[in-house]
Subunit: 79 residues, 2 copies
């Protein structure tokens, strides 16, 4: 089955990459975008059993590798 | 209004970062994840008018800055 994990910075954590994108958009003359925050997305192909088993595997992957839970949130979607 | 842009590699484009993650997951003993592809997510705060106007602005931002449309697809969600 397919799954998507989205990792985003927690509210309040500074995002210099997002700020750089905001500045680049303005310098390209693209108006009307007030703020940008960048995150990561992982598209996964999972063979670990049914829904709950797959979700448990994905949660472990997030906690151990994909997200730094001190400063990042993650969301798991089974597609 | 809030919007989310998801940028992913096109099918067939090699993703060494995804391969590295697959190997790292295996080395951590996490089984059952067969393939990983990494992409980017941008969470934006848009003030550019209503729905269609905002979407046009976001499409321009994707084409000019956020996605390399030679090797990447992008999807815009207005939240």
């Amino acid at each position: 089955m397919k799954a998507r994990i989205i990792v985003t910075l927690k509210t309040g954590v500074l995002d210099p990459q997002g700020k750089a994108i905001e500045a680049a958009l303005r310098s390209l003359g693209i108006e009307g975008i007030d703020s940008v925050r960048q995150g990561k997305v992982f598209d996964l192909e999972v063979s670990a059993g049914d829904g709950p088993a797959a979700e448990a595997t994905l949660r472990t992957a997030c906690e151990k590798l994909l997200a730094n839970t001190v400063v990042e949130n993650y969301a798991i979607e089974i597609l």
